[in-house]
């Protein structure tokens, strides 16, 4: 077990790689009631074409299967794992993203027992035809719930606009039609391929004794049999750098129109420190231009083009990345035109300066400190960073390294008509 210390933040992290390949991290947090653990596989909605374990050829699986598997893993021959966590006073949950499926619980008592429940249920699947069919009704309603949500439709509409082929454009839950194709055998095939310990990470944060917990995890893993680790082969079609569609309009039952402008990242294959720096640099650029302390935000607000729902974000992982900017507006076309103008003018230096960059960096450091209050944030983000060969605790040092010329270079490369798309939701 190794100990990694982050002086300024007054935090220690304990790390060990198990013999079966599972990565385990423990962050002790004194003074908290709650312990929190996430058990995550590097497997999400985009992993739909791969060589199944023990086979030789690529296979394509139905849209939404990673999310479906997440639901079904909770059900066992003798009942539901939610029940067991409740009996042990814990609250359990799970989520599926583009690139990850995470299982988690939080508890304020019986941590060891709950941790064992978490590890054992994820490592012991039970799928049957009957329960798979039953789940189609439940997930069908989950899909319809999102179909009625204009913000979700706008979000996926924008991503669909950006990508020609990349599976990031597919809704994480799939559609009622695609989940109809899911069978128990397909679930087992995905499970065997992606839930090998060497493709997974366990993160624990809370008032715990690291040595003791690590020993228990070691014993638990040594008592189970796994195939030798094997490299997972995923396949993605070639993705052109330009956007697939310049614009799209959805009509829904809303009173206020919504728009979202997307910028497709031109270099989506970065990883490690390079990726971290890129993410932070674009975030700083957006904050400088569009944040509440910018004169541009004030102008948009004063002119009635935006309201409190206006937001912007940049995210990138292996293979895809995008900035999203938008919100509710009474003037969708005018706001679209104005946002494009702001972005292109930023290339000439308008709206950005070294001084405002320094202020924004200071703000980001404060934001990062604040987010360390949240065990959920630490566990989820640490895992996301680790799967992309980054370290969450490098955020502050990398922020401090960013120079104005980095921001200018990033702006120059990112802002290009061929990477920009717009989606609108308008009243019917």
């Amino acid at each position: 077990m190794e100990k990694i210390t982050f002086e300024q933040l007054q935090e220690d992290i304990f790390h060990e790689k198990m013999t079966n390949g599972l990565e385990v991290f423990i962050l002790p947090k004194k003074g908290f009631n709650k312990s929190f653990a996430t058990f995550t596989t590097k497997y999400g909605s985009i992993d739909n074409r791969f060589i199944p374990l023990g086979k030789e050829d690529y296979a394509k699986v139905p849209d939404g299967i990673a999310h479906f598997l997440e639901h079904k893993l909770f059900e066992k021959e003798d009942g539901d794992v939610f029940q067991q966590f409740s009996k042990q006073g814990a609250s359990a949950n799970a989520f599926t993203s583009f690139t990850r499926t995470a299982y988690l619980f939080s508890s304020t008592a019986d941590f060891d027992l709950n941790l064992k429940t978490l590890i054992d249920f994820v490592q012991d699947p039970y799928f049957s035809e009957k329960t798979v069919e039953k789940e189609k009704g439940i997930i069908g309603q989950e899909i319809k719930m999102y179909d009625d949500n204009p913000d979700w439709r706008l979000y996926f509409g924008t991503i669909e606009n950006m990508y020609h082929n990349h599976p990031v454009k597919i809704d994480i839950a799939g559609t009622v039609e695609t989940i109809a194709e899911i069978t128990k055998d397909l679930l087992y095939e995905c499970y065997e391929t992606f839930y090998h310990p060497s493709n997974m990470l366990l993160f624990i944060v809370g008032p715990v004794e690291p040595e003791e917990i690590m020993e228990k995890i070691r014993n638990n893993q040594d008592g189970k049999e796994f195939q030798p680790p094997q490299e997972i082969k995923r396949q993605f079609e070639t993705e052109p750098s330009d956007v697939a569609m310049k614009d799209r309009t959805l009509h829904m039952s809303v009173q206020t129109p919504k728009i979202m402008l997307g910028i497709k990242s031109p270099d989506p294959d970065l990883s490690g420190q390079e990726l971290l720096k890129k993410e932070l640099t674009v975030s700083i650029l957006l904050e400088m231009l569009l944040g509440k302390s910018s004169p541009i935000h004030e102008e948009l607000y004063m002119n009635g083009l935006i309201d409190q729902t206006f937001s912007y974000d940049f995210t990138q992982e292996a293979g895809f990345g995008f900035a999203l900017i938008g919100g509710d507006t009474k003037h969708p076309d005018e706001l679209t035109a104005k946002l494009k103008q702001i972005l292109f003018e930023a290339k000439t230096g308008k709206g950005i300066s070294e001084e405002s960059m320094k202020r924004v960096i200071k703000k980001r450091i404060g934001l990062f400190l604040r987010s360390l209050n949240s065990p959920e944030y630490i566990a989820n983000q640490f895992t996301r960073y680790a799967f992309n060969d980054m370290n969450l605790f490098d955020v502050v040092p990398v922020l401090e390294q960013i120079e104005f010329k980095d921001v200018k270079a990033t702006t120059e490369k990112l802002i290009d008509e061929k990477f920009i798309t717009v989606c609108q939701v308008l009243p019917k």
């Binding site: 006073g89 009625d148 809303v254 309201d307 202020r359 703000k363």
Partner: protein, 423 residues
């Protein structure tokens, strides 16, 4: 177990609540203003905090104000308007880094307290009215915010249930206000309402973090000067149900939204309140509850099927999203679960499971400074001082008989269904 309690000091015009804890890397300041929920003032109270947070006489524009917060290591500052029972509560929340984790130590907490006082007492005004541009923009923004409730149909269905169920009670008023009243508010009338609220609202200041209590009191005393007042106390009216209402509305949705409201006749501070919490936990509060198991897991009708309590008004509300064609089946299953509760058809295991989860939930809530403030503020709203230990102890001791007694008091009031147009 670190269960934090607040020490309360009564100052002229307001109370100061302090929780000293080393748990967080930030300090949290919350200011709460409370007044009865009334149709005449609801929209004023909904608009006011957004004007105050936009700018002040010191920071005359939003960019200036927000740049100042950025300089304070990205202090987070936001406002919120909510109802608790038949009160409408305005919150100002400032979260600021604790200087001990930063290279260049600045007196951030002191600056934070001074900033909050500036927002509250020193608005950007023009004589006896708010700055015209700020006023017009926030008015427009609030109108969009009110309209956006309609755009999110899950939320809109919840709002409609409360409107139908409490149509002749203050609780039926939405805390965001309404577009019609908004139209009649002027920058002068809002300013005079602001002066009145400063004189009459019940005010509470919370400071949570690794702080020096003596120093914090000194700073608060220095920056927050208010006259004494006698806050208005309201006891939520407990209405008997004379006839069950059923309201079905057609809307352009792919999924029907089913919302059911009950009256429990029990509020926070009542002796039966703890049993009511456990009742709700067995019935629909969690993923081991009867609603989740029977509506979702067994019948496969829904993705969400849950219930929650409004503790200060004594309401129980069920929500679920279903195929419109399955309305009767879903309503029947929900009725059966309620009948089982009334007849005591639940196991000792369901009881102990629910107690364990409630305990866990309470302890988790106080792990965040914001959650802690919300728990502590229940005492201000209800007028009863309940400590977290007491809450946990009383929950642990609840018996099956007490839950059945609570279940017997629960009355079905309104079934609201937002039905898809496709069926």
């Amino acid at each position: 177990m670190g269960i934090s309690l607040d020490t309360i000091k009564k100052n002229p015009g307001y109370s100061v609540h302090i929780v000293k804890t080393a748990q967080y890397k930030t300090n949290t300041l919350v200011l709460k203003m409370k007044a009865p929920l009334k149709h005449e003032t609801a929209t004023y109270r909904s608009l006011l905090p957004y004007i105050l947070q936009s700018n002040t006489a010191t920071y005359k524009s939003t960019p200036l104000l927000r740049s100042y917060l950025d300089e304070l290591y990205g202090a987070s500052f936001y406002v919120d308007v909510a109802k608790k029972g038949e009160y409408q509560i305005i919150s100002f929340v400032l979260e600021i880094a604790n200087e001990k984790f930063l290279h260049n130590s600045e007196p951030l907490l002191e600056k934070g307290i001074a900033f909050l006082a500036d927002v509250l007492f020193n608005p950007n005004k023009d004589g006896e009215s708010f700055d015209v541009a700020t006023f017009n923009n926030e008015k427009r923004s609030l109108q969009q915010r009110i309209q956006s409730i309609y755009d999110d149909k899950m939320r809109y269905a919840t709002t409609r249930l409360v409107e139908v169920m409490c149509d002749d009670e203050p609780y039926g008023i939405d805390a965001s206000g309404d577009v019609e009243s908004l139209g009649s508010i002027t920058k002068e009338s809002l300013y005079s309402y602001y002066k009145k609220a400063l004189l009459e609202d019940e005010m509470d200041v919370y400071v949570i973090g690794d702080i020096n209590e003596v120093e914090v009191h000194k700073l608060i005393d220095q920056h927050f000067k208010l006259p004494n007042r006698e806050p208005v106390r309201m006891k939520s009216e407990q209405k008997k149900v004379s006839e069950v209402k059923e309201k079905i509305e057609e809307m352009d949705v792919k999924q029907g939204k089913l919302n059911i409201g009950y009256r429990t006749h029990i509020v926070y501070g009542d002796p039966e309140y703890y049993a009511l919490q456990v009742f709700n936990g067995i019935f629909g509060g969690f993923s081991h509850s009867k609603l989740f198991i029977n509506v979702r897991e067994k019948a496969s009708l829904a993705y969400y099927a849950a219930s929650r309590l409004e503790s200060h008004k004594g309401l129980l509300m069920v929500m679920s999203g279903i195929e419109s064609a399955n309305y009767d089946q879903a309503v029947n299953i929900i009725h059966e679960q309620m009948n089982d509760m009334k007849q005591g058809n639940f196991t000792d295991e369901e009881l102990s499971q629910t107690k364990a989860v409630i305990k866990n939930q309470l302890l988790e809530t106080v792990d965040s400074a914001r959650g802690l403030v919300e728990i502590l503020y229940h005492n201000v709203v209800s007028g009863y001082a309940v400590s977290l230990e007491e809450w946990l102890k009383k929950t642990e001791a609840i018996t099956k008989e007490e839950i059945v007694a609570v279940a017997q008091k629960v009355e079905l009031d309104t079934i609201y269904f937002m039905k898809g147009t496709e069926v």
